[in-house]
Symmetry: C2
Subunit: 237 residues, 2 copies
DNA sequence: TTTGGCAATATTGGATCCAATTGACATGAA
DNA sequence: TTCATGTCAATTGGATCCAATATTGCCAAA
């Protein structure tokens, strides 16, 4: 990675390239945690000008992946396991709040039905400890749709902003990838449990049970946390 | 504000100037909500180069005060009342989580005592509906110290990051300023209530009552929300 | 030997210049 | 009259250049 990254075939844009390259280097440890990151060496290393590096560094600082060092540039800040678990906890309370608000809204029944429809294709997933073909992709899509719909139904825009910030910490977006390190039965059980939790949340929202919806949503996040702790291995980037 | 802002006497730096200037213009409505913000006119208007403007716009985009418009620059996004109330709700659940975690930690007794000591100077504040000289400043300092100490005692760094993002929405940092629009008795009552809530949270943490600490912290935020709703007038920047 | 001051260098931030992409407008043809 | 196409202009993104500043290393003096 010391050579200028391949830019021959339609490389998107220097800015985006630098952004993803630095992110990758930090989370993979290619740039050690706490190591200083200066503009000029980084720019030369990536084969671009200093400007995109500067832009990317400021953006990453707002994301928390680097910390400003006054006049001495930035330092890499690789999120550790504690930070990842903390981010999952934060996700839990934020989505719990979203679930509560949605359940309290006048149209909670419609929202619950919509959420139930989104996860409907996952009915029976992981039954008998077996996984059908494409079950992982099916769940991943339903999962993303569920959480996105919940956020969209919520009138509180601050939750979405906080979650966007929170998701900058690389952790859970790759759970699907980490799955293949587990045996089929375990994965099937996890998926079945997750689907059941989704269904329970949708039901609570449909019934307007705000407190229950919040508690269930939190449990769902706690389950992710336990899962994350279970596979202690280094998650893929 | 159409002229280059005064830079004669030790103006800090162009970058910071542009940042605060744009923030001010957006929250005060000098730049209308939804109005396009181009680099060149803004740079000329502020008497600086395009570069600090570009930097500031990207930063403000990550803060949520402007939204990117593809290749056509950015649009101002003034947070409305709903967004402010949403941010207060988010603050409530995040600090509630922090209180719960702190109360669950092994050293919860020491933390509770420390928090109690921080707010101790406010004992008896607002009693009999009267405010002593400098009571507002006293409370503001204790309030800031309380929340900062709670965050510092919490091992979950993601909470602090999410709160930092949340605090970009201008609202609650100026509650002390908004106070002077109220009569003395009302303010005294609010301060007394807020202090009592702080004390209750500190006590719950000291006792290790995690659920109670979280609920109390949420109530505290909800009180701020009600207060914010009470003074519906435009808060100062 | 240690400390303080000075100078040199490295590094960030800002300004100007250049290129590329996109949106809008006008003109011509169907 | 309307739609499509081509050209032009405006605006953003990137690169290079310049200035300001802090840090660090070295030397001299106590």
């Amino acid at each position: 990675m010391n050579l200028p990254l391949a830019r021959s075939p339609r490389s998107p844009k220097p800015g985006q390239r630098v952004m993803v390259a630095l992110r990758h280097m930090i989370v993979t440890g290619e740039i050690a945690d706490g190591a200083r990151i200066a503009e000029i060496p980084t720019a030369e290393r990536l084969g671009v000008s200093r400007m995109p590096v500067r832009t990317a560094l400021r953006a990453l600082a707002l994301e928390g992946l680097v910390v400003p060092l006054g006049k001495r540039g930035y330092a890499a800040r690789r999120p550790d396991q504690a930070m990842k678990e903390g981010a999952l906890q934060v996700r839990g309370v934020l989505e719990g709040l979203a679930a509560r608000l949605v359940a309290q809204a006048p149209d909670h029944a419609a929202t619950g039905a919509r959420l139930a429809a989104i996860i409907a294709p996952c009915a029976g997933i992981g039954a008998q400890g077996r996984l059908a073909e494409g079950a992982l992709a099916l769940y991943a899509e339903a999962n993303a749709g569920f959480h996105a719909a919940l956020l969209a139904a919520c009138t509180n825009g601050a939750i979405g902003m906080a979650l966007a910030q929170n998701d900058h910490i690389p952790l859970a977006s790759a759970v699907a990838f980490a799955f293949d390190t587990q045996d089929e039965a375990s994965v099937a059980g996890l998926l079945a449990a997750a689907h059941a939790q989704h269904a329970a949340v949708a039901r609570a929202i449909a019934e307007g049970a705000a407190e229950a919806a919040e508690a269930l949503m939190r449990s769902h996040a706690e389950a992710s946390l336990a899962m994350e702790r279970g596979l202690a291995a280094e998650p893929v980037a």
